[in-house]
């Protein structure tokens, strides 16, 4: 699968909460095959305080209209700058990059679990699995009810369970505290979110012998395996999150 470097036009910049937004981008020619879990390296133009591209995972891909969405949280100057873009602006992307989630077995009991802006790749993964006739549940965690994003989109593709840290909606606590997880009904989990959350999920899955893949968000330099900056410690030694990941089975990680 070859990687592209392209200027893409912004169709929409939609603000979801005060620090989360979705960019919808359109491609002139046909989209390449993009798999759930993969990401794009987005160049941040006119941003004196930043230097490197920002890795952003694919949130939704529409092959019919040759468009895709990136769900982004403002966490620094780079993402702040990206949030200011308007419809019609052009962004330079290198994509698609990285590996992808591995398809489950047909009779697996599947859970897509994510927290905060980490829910981003799970919408794409859910739609992808649904198109292949897999059934799954979705477990999403947010800090509070005001930070819940795109919940309607997830309701369209599967049964959704919610947690908030303050209990303002859904069950109170983190996703790893949710009753659907402790019910023991899943044997396969796809997880994306903050590090501490994925580590807690990995620990739960190890204890309960659940096959679990996580999508890491390490700091990246190049995104194409040249700089060796984004490494994660694995049983095979230091591997690049950008080319050997971002998706890893927890059995590979030294967590």
């Amino acid at each position: 699968m070859s990687k592209r470097i392209e200027d893409l036009k912004i169709l929409e910049n939609k603000r979801l909460t005060n620090d989360v937004f979705v960019l919808q981008l359109s491609v002139d020619k046909e989209l390449p095959e993009i798999k759930p879990g993969q990401f794009a390296q987005v160049r941040v133009d006119n941003s004196p305080g930043t230097f490197l591209r920002r890795p952003i995972s694919f949130h939704d891909v529409d092959y019919e209209n040759n468009t895709f969405k990136l769900l982004i949280q403002i966490i620094g100057k780079g993402t702040e700058r990206l949030s200011k873009h308007k419809k019609g602006d052009v962004l330079n992307l290198i994509y698609p990059l990285g590996n992808s989630f591995i398809l489950p077995e047909k009779d697996d009991k599947i859970l897509l679990a994510g927290g905060g802006v980490g829910v981003a790749p799970l919408l794409f993964l859910g739609k992808y699995l649904k198109a292949k006739s897999y059934n799954y549940d979705i477990l999403l965690g947010f800090r509070n009810s005001e930070r819940i994003i795109e919940i309607d989109e997830y309701h369209k593709i599967g049964k959704v369970f919610l947690t908030t840290e303050d209990g303002s909606e859904g069950e109170k606590g983190y996703i790893t505290n949710h009753s659907t997880l402790s019910s023991g009904r899943y044997n396969r989990v796809y997880c994306c979110g903050p590090d501490f959350m994925m580590k807690a999920m990995a620990s739960h899955c190890r204890k309960n012998n659940i096959n679990c893949e996580v999508s890491l968000e390490n700091l990246m330099g190049c995104g194409i395996g040249a700089c060796l900056c984004c490494v994660v410690d694995t049983i095979k030694g230091n591997l690049c999150t950008c080319i050997d990941g971002p998706v890893f089975n927890i059995n590979e990680l030294k967590w």
Binding site: K3, I5, L52, C222, G225, A226, L228, V231, D233
Partner: protein, 305 residues
């Protein structure tokens, strides 16, 4: 047509644009973006005798107009390079230069001996300037006696072109350039990264696991340019300039200051096509300025009018 070629001794480079070690992998990483063979040369990721895991994450921090890295020479060792990587990059029709690193002089000697036997490797870059390893690396590049000793030892066993990569973390880089020239280096490349650091204010910790790391990117360009200019005036061997080259204009500055060739480094992280764009730009510049040969502009600012 303009002549873009230059030579280190009898080793011909079809153009003056090379890629810097540690920023271009081994070449195949960039196949989707450009024709690697159209470059003057590629300097592949630094190799050591034994495999190295490098430093712990985090090993990178973004800084104003640049980045700090503390990768620490992660690589799979010379044997893996010979057996697995070398066969995969043989087909490139360009000069493939291997950057070598060691903790002891013997390490450099062993690596040079082994690489001397690889037909398609016409040159090595002796890295005596890596700031991210505890033993060796920059130690050799910041001590005149050691720089002399390691260059002499490698020269004795290596019959092809020997390029020595100099450290900017010294008071007088010219002295180092002169010493390695005296010991038979065919060329010097400079600069490696500048030692720097960054602190994560939110988490109140150093940004890098190693605390200090090597600064690269446009932030270091004026320093690099000054050093290249000083060295080019002081030595007779060709100087390969690098340090924060992002654009054609940056590259031309180094050539005008006296570099015979340049390496594109960190720029390839932001734009994988940076090297090839700079190459095209240099050719256009020469045509626009009415020069027929790249040599006409090398060291141009140093000539008496």
């Amino acid at each position: 047509m303009v002549n873009l070629g230059f030579s280190i001794g009898d080793l011909y480079f079809k153009n003056p644009v090379l890629t810097a070690s540690g920023t271009f992998g081994y070449g195949p990483e960039f196949d989707d973006f450009l024709d690697v063979s159209s470059l003057g040369g590629i300097v592949v990721k630094g190799v050591t005798i034994e495999p190295r895991e490098g430093n712990a994450y985090p090993r990178m921090a973004e800084t104003p107009s640049g980045m700090l890295n503390a990768v620490g020479l992660q690589n799979k060792g010379i044997e893996y390079f010979e057996n697995n990587i070398y066969p995969q990059i043989l087909h490139y029709d360009t000069n493939i230069i291997v950057n070598i690193n060691g903790s002891f002089i013997d390490d450099y000697v062993i690596l040079a001996e082994r690489l001397n036997k690889l037909d398609k490797i016409p040159a090595i870059e002796l890295n005596i300037s890596c700031p991210n390893v505890k033993m060796g690396g920059m130690v050799f590049g910041t001590n005149l006696d050691l720089a002399r000793e390691v260059t002499r030892a490698v020269r004795a066993v290596y019959s092809k072109k020997l390029i020595v990569k100099l450290s900017p973390n010294v008071t007088d880089i010219v002295g180092f350039a002169r010493v390695v020239e005296e010991e038979g280096a065919d060329s010097v490349s400079l600069i490696n990264t500048l030692l720097g650091m960054s602190v994560d204010v939110e988490n109140m910790t150093p940004a890098l696991s190693t605390i200090t790391g090597g600064l690269s990117g446009p932030a270091i360009k004026p320093v690099a340019l000054r050093m290249v200019w000083q060295v080019a005036k002081a030595v007779k061997i060709p100087v390969i300039g690098m340090g924060g080259i992002m654009t054609t204009s940056d590259a031309i500055e180094f050539l005008l200051a006296g570099a015979s060739a340049i390496q594109v480094g960190t720029a390839s992280f932001i734009d994988p096509k940076a090297s090839i764009k700079i190459l095209d730009g240099i050719e256009k510049y020469l045509i626009e300025k009415g020069f027929s040969d790249i040599k006409d502009i090398v060291g141009y600012i140093n000539r008496t009018k």
